[in-house]
């Protein structure tokens, strides 16, 4: 048989790409591989379009629609107007409704004195590090569409997630871990589409981590003895080498052999990320966690820190799921339970990042898919409200201790400085040194962007 190396540039490039794709490669492996080729490593750190402070992102997403007027957007007139009836705009709330008084008192936090409700006492202490946006705007009053929108910029069609775009734009800083990790205990609205790479190459896919025993699927060895698994890999390795030699060192075959070495080591190495035994009691306390606890939002926040610490580019922390979340149609009092779950861990995360100096180059984002109506829904609840809501940014490059935009007297509509989802995305990319109009990918005969054909960078949010 005619056999020789097949240095096909295309296939080799694909091999390297897929190798790195969703992989947790060993140090040096990629550089070794790349040394054999003149192909650029697709996940190697790439220069941003312009210098920027933020190098990595922790993106916290609260499922269900967090009420703005009960958390970060103080509406004194709504306290007074309780019970009055009026028509308020925006989708499901587009009817005459009885106005509902916010359920929590507001107090100033930090030196900046930003008003935050009693739902978030810990976050209130962090307001000097936070840049609050009170004039967010989405396009759809359905959870699914709005959730897809805040993740992909597209409200109906599957498109790459913001994490995939950022991975595509900047690569990763640690070849031993994926560039995009999504920690999600439950299934969010719109399912796994929200951390999907869609048409971007597969190595930009969000690798899902599920809190619990086996955070990454098939990470645990199923043979009783590791020595037996080693033996099996030894035999397969020898036979594979033989097969490879007969085929002239085909790089694709060689790459697949390496994936088994990588996977074998992942069984122990990736475990290190999830091993919290070396975290101090003080640190655990900061996140409001007990030792050994994996439920609640402390675990995702702490693992999130450990991932970005190791150079993962984008970590999404999903708060709640499609069936258990902030969607309080019937009784707003339920918000308290979800706030308690979120407040201390996220505040702890901010404090922890700060004390480690990581807040200087880490961007922390908190958002939800939409706000809630000023009018009542059900007996004591609020409906979906995409016309306005609150989100915040913290960390690298962000104008901390400020608030931007406002809503009208009752929080029904944006009064000034609207920040549409596309603007929000454009600004996040800008903070990472990327121009949202330049970060494009050719697919199906078209250049796609995270911001579609929209979006403006909101300069006022930048430090």
């Amino acid at each position: 048989m005619n056999t020789r190396p097949s240095p096909s540039p295309v296939s080799r490039r694909e091999v390297i790409r897929s190798l790195v794709g969703s992989s947790l490669l060993l140090p040096g492996l990629v550089s070794n591989l790349l040394a054999e080729t003149d192909v650029a490593d697709p996940l190697a750190p790439k220069a941003s379009h312009f210098p920027a402070k933020a190098k990595r992102v922790l993106f916290i997403f609260s499922n269900g629609g967090v009420s703005h007027m009960d958390t970060f957007d103080f509406k004194p007139k709504l306290f007074v107007a309780d019970g009055k009836t009026m028509g308020v705009g925006g989708g499901l709330s587009n009817q005459q409704r009885r106005l509902l008084r916010p359920g929590w008192e507001f107090k100033p936090g930090g030196k900046c004195g930003a008003l935050v409700s009693d739902l978030f006492p810990h976050l209130r202490d962090c307001m000097d590090d936070i840049c609050l946006i009170k004039s967010m705007k989405s396009d759809d009053n359905e959870h699914y569409q709005a959730t897809l929108g805040i993740h992909t910029g597209s409200f109906f069609f599957s498109r790459p997630s913001i994490g995939s775009w950022i991975s595509y734009g900047l690569g990763t800083m640690n070849q031993n871990l994926p560039s995009f990790v999504a920690i999600s205990a439950g299934s969010p609205y719109a399912g796994t589409q929200i951390f999907n790479n869609d048409f971007l190459p597969a190595y930009h896919q969000g690798v899902r981590v599920v809190p619990g025993k086996e955070p990454i699927a098939n990470l645990d060895r199923r043979t009783r003895q590791s020595s037996v698994q080693e033996l099996e890999l030894g035999l397969a390795g020898a036979l594979n080498q033989r097969h490879l030699q007969a085929r002239g060192q085909d790089s694709e075959l060689a790459a697949r052999i390496r994936t088994f070495e990588t996977a074998f080591h992942m069984q122990t190495e990736a475990r290190d990320v999830f091993d919290l035994t070396k975290e101090s009691d003080e640190t655990l306390a900061l996140y409001g966690m007990k030792r050994g606890q994996t439920d609640g939002f402390g675990w995702p926040c702490l693992i999130g820190r450990r991932l970005v610490e190791r150079g993962v580019r984008f970590v999404e922390l999903v708060d709640g799921s499609s069936s258990h979340n902030w969607d309080q149609h019937g009784d707003m009092a339920e918000h308290a339970k979800h706030a308690k779950n979120l407040d201390q861990p996220v505040a702890g995360l901010l404090k922890d990042l700060k004390q480690r100096g990581m807040l200087d180059d880490t961007l922390v984002v908190w958002t939800t898919e939409f706000g809630r109506t000023p009018g009542v829904d059900g007996e004591k609840g609020r409906g979906h409200h995409s016309a306005c809501y609150s989100s915040w940014l913290a960390g690298a490059g962000v104008k901390a201790g400020t608030s931007y935009g406002s809503t009208d007297d009752i929080g029904a509509a944006v009064a000034e400085n609207r920040v549409h989802v596309h603007d929000f995305h454009a600004t996040i990319l800008h903070l990472l040194g990327m121009d949202h109009e330049t970060l494009t990918f050719r697919h199906g005969g078209r250049d796609y962007r995270l911001t579609d054909v929209h979006g403006n960078v909101i300069e006022a949010l930048l430090a």
Partner: protein, 974 residues
Amino acid sequence: MSRSNITLSGLSASLLALGLAPDVLGADAVFLRAVNLNGPALQIDGRQWDGTNSANLLISGKLFENQSVALKPATDPDRARMIRSSVWGSKVDVSVGGLPSVECLVVVYVWEDNHSEQFDLLLNDSYVVEKIHSGAAGSWKRLGPWRVTPKEGTVKVSARTPSHGAANLSGIEIWTGDGAIPGVISESFVTELTVDQTAFFEKKIRPVLVEHCYECHSSTAKKIKGGLMLDSRAGVIKGGDNGPVISPGQPEASLLIQSIRHGDPALTMPPKKKLPDSAIADLEAWVRMGAPDPRTENTVATAAAKNAIDWKKGREWWSFRPLNRSAVPAERLGHWPMNDLDCFILARLEKAGLKPADDAEKQVLIRRATFDLIGLPPTPAEIDAFLGDTASTAFARVVDRLLASPHYGERWGRHWLDVVRYADTAGDNSDFPIPQIRRYRDWVICAFNRDLPYDQFIREQLAGDLLTAGAADGTQERIIATGYIANARRFGSRVDDYPQHLTIDDTIDNVGRAFLGLTVSCARCHDHKFDPIPTADYYALYGFFQSTRYPWPGIELEQQSRDLVPLVESARRADAEAACKAYDTEKRRLEKEVQKLKDSLKEKIGDEKKPIESRIKDAQKSSKDFIAQPLPFELAYAVAEAGKAVNAAIQIKGDPAKLGEIADRRFLTVLGGQQLPTSDPTSGRLHLADQIANPGNPLTARVMVNRIWLHHFGRGLVPTPNDFGKQGKLPTHPELLDWLANRFIESGWSIKAMHRTLMLSRTYQLASGPGDEAAARDPNNELLSSFPRRRLDAESLRDAMLVLGGNLDTSPAGEHPFPPQWEWKFTQHNPFKAVYDSKRRSVYLMTQRIQRHPYLAIFDGADPSASTAVRTSSTTPLQALFLLNDPFVHEQSREFAKRIVATVQDESGQLQFAYRSALGRKAERAEIEQCRSFLTSAHTRLTESGTAPDQLEIEVWQSMVRAILRLNEFVYMD
């Protein structure tokens, strides 16, 4: 009828919405009479309106009222009440009598309760406005006034919809006199300019437009934004994609003025920097004086001419040209070619100075052919038979045997299911399961097995229901075939505002890619940027599907499916359809009943709740009992004709609320533009299918033979099988592609014949791996000097493991174990989500749109939401982790180990059995030694770790098998 009237109607509505009662010039007109169509007598603006039953009023049309629709803009309650009661239809006539014989001014209220429509208005049988857009749900307009003289004391107001939709007329006001009607302004664009006006324009307006607007809004713009051109009077009057930008005389109501004031963040012009206040004031003054404009050049017409598609040039693109009939290149390498195909390949190789590789060994060839045609490994017996068959026709016999296998359709049907983005769920927010769609999947598999001619394959999928007339048999299969269209993706959660246009878009997108290799849906919002496909062509196709009834799979707010098609013989069809309809109606009624009770429960407190709750239980039970009663026939998730066949209106920028011109149903212009004959009363899908399946269509055969080629050689002759347009890649062997396409048509569109042509070539039978020269000079092996090695796809890998485990279930696929429909309560909070274990072939795995199947996601399975032309073949550690640790792999290994031990007694025989089953060849001596040494070590380690003696042999072999399943040789096909 002047254009200004249309503009003004919108204006008056917006003014009323703003609560402004503009002070109109001079004395008011005199109010004569007003009538509330399909409503009671009432007072509006202090004037008495007659009710629908008053004297001297004759209404012809259907009566309709929906007081729950929120009006846009909102208005006072009496007016709202009047607006929301109306008369509607495609032909509405209202005669208002008892009027004096003086010239009257007529004002008409119209509104939209659900979907945007288009209609014309007539007064005394003369057209006064054409193509009025009713707008989104809740929109209303006060149109007019128009002057008309009553005939015998009567004014007749009529609405007509020439080809599409219906009009809702709510009320009519009749006035007289020269004064203005309160709330309605009469003003128009200035036509005769005074000297002062010209000077004002030149000094104040033109410079501002040139400096701040022309960059984006003129014929010289790099790209005209928003369809608006401000560099001519014609452009100013026409407005942009959002409609007119100027309401003459009324700056407040003019979009142009609103946008330069930066009041609405959604529309701020110029986008970066606001104009100086003085410039804004000048433009306001200009609009107030009627936008006097001395410019005469019609840049709108010029730009239209410039942007028009150059059809002649467009048709010169290679894939739009007719199939070539090039001669088969003369062979030079003696008897190397086995058939004509080889001559094309060889000619290119010789031109490049490359030699083809040696022939593949027989055991390699049979493994290749078997995976290729049926997606399973050859059995040791099959290998032996082939190795023992020394006749020159031995391989042809293998190919024939495989083509006759029922597994062939499972393999090749799957390739087609990739292209048509097949899924077992709808893709809406709750991802509703579709239990009946599997019949379409089975139809595809069966169509490949019986070698249904490809042109007929196209016709049945697009118009099988229309082919049943007069057919003696096969009618049910043809109905099932239209599951192709029904399988289009669904979106959202809501019933009102249901985005059917997106489902139709998904259909058009797939029809374009699957059959024609064109990205037609790029033309949804604007003309295709690269290929000669104008937006008008897109909506010409849209009409075919708008005239089609898609089945309703269920959605969060309306859970019960409906509009499925009964599977009965022709004679019973009408009865069955009636029964279906009655069933659907009753199902819906019962579902609504439950919902109504649930809604009423919300208002009750304490003890009041109890009786309602028990009524809900009863209602739920009757609903369940009713649904659980099976219909006396099976149902297909298939399409049917909609009630009415229509041509679609162009949706401006893809927005279904903004309708433009009507596009008559026809085929793509670049491919002939064949109009649907006016005599055809159907949706026209058969006409469309006939155009696609026409042998003269240059794309259809090329696209399909390229797909067949792709799956045999790992890469298409056109490397972008879904895009034969300018953004796609050019064919590597254009003459060969056309030669194959011609042959395909001449064979009667036989796919199996095409397999024989490709596989019985020497090119197919070459050894894999390029030679030295080839690797250096043709690194991507485009010239096919050797067979391209490739990884097994997800399905083949899983199926092969099941075969080795002796676990593959080959019984008919049957239904997925979905929960029964009466238990469905899927929402976006708790969407349908399931993974069903199965030992059947992977093509039968239940695949969801929103949640990827975990196994298929790891191994590059097809995208269930968008057409997959080529599977990617990634090599990731997650795949390795699967093969290391997934329970499925461990289970199959165990079963395979048991088979090895049970089938053969001696160790070397066992080894050979394992090798031949998994790798299709005998183990060589060195390998035997390595394996034996492994078996010994494994035995030792397993013994040491305390494995029970009676389990030891199985465990040792299981370990051996796991190693084999991880081999490149197992996962790759040479």
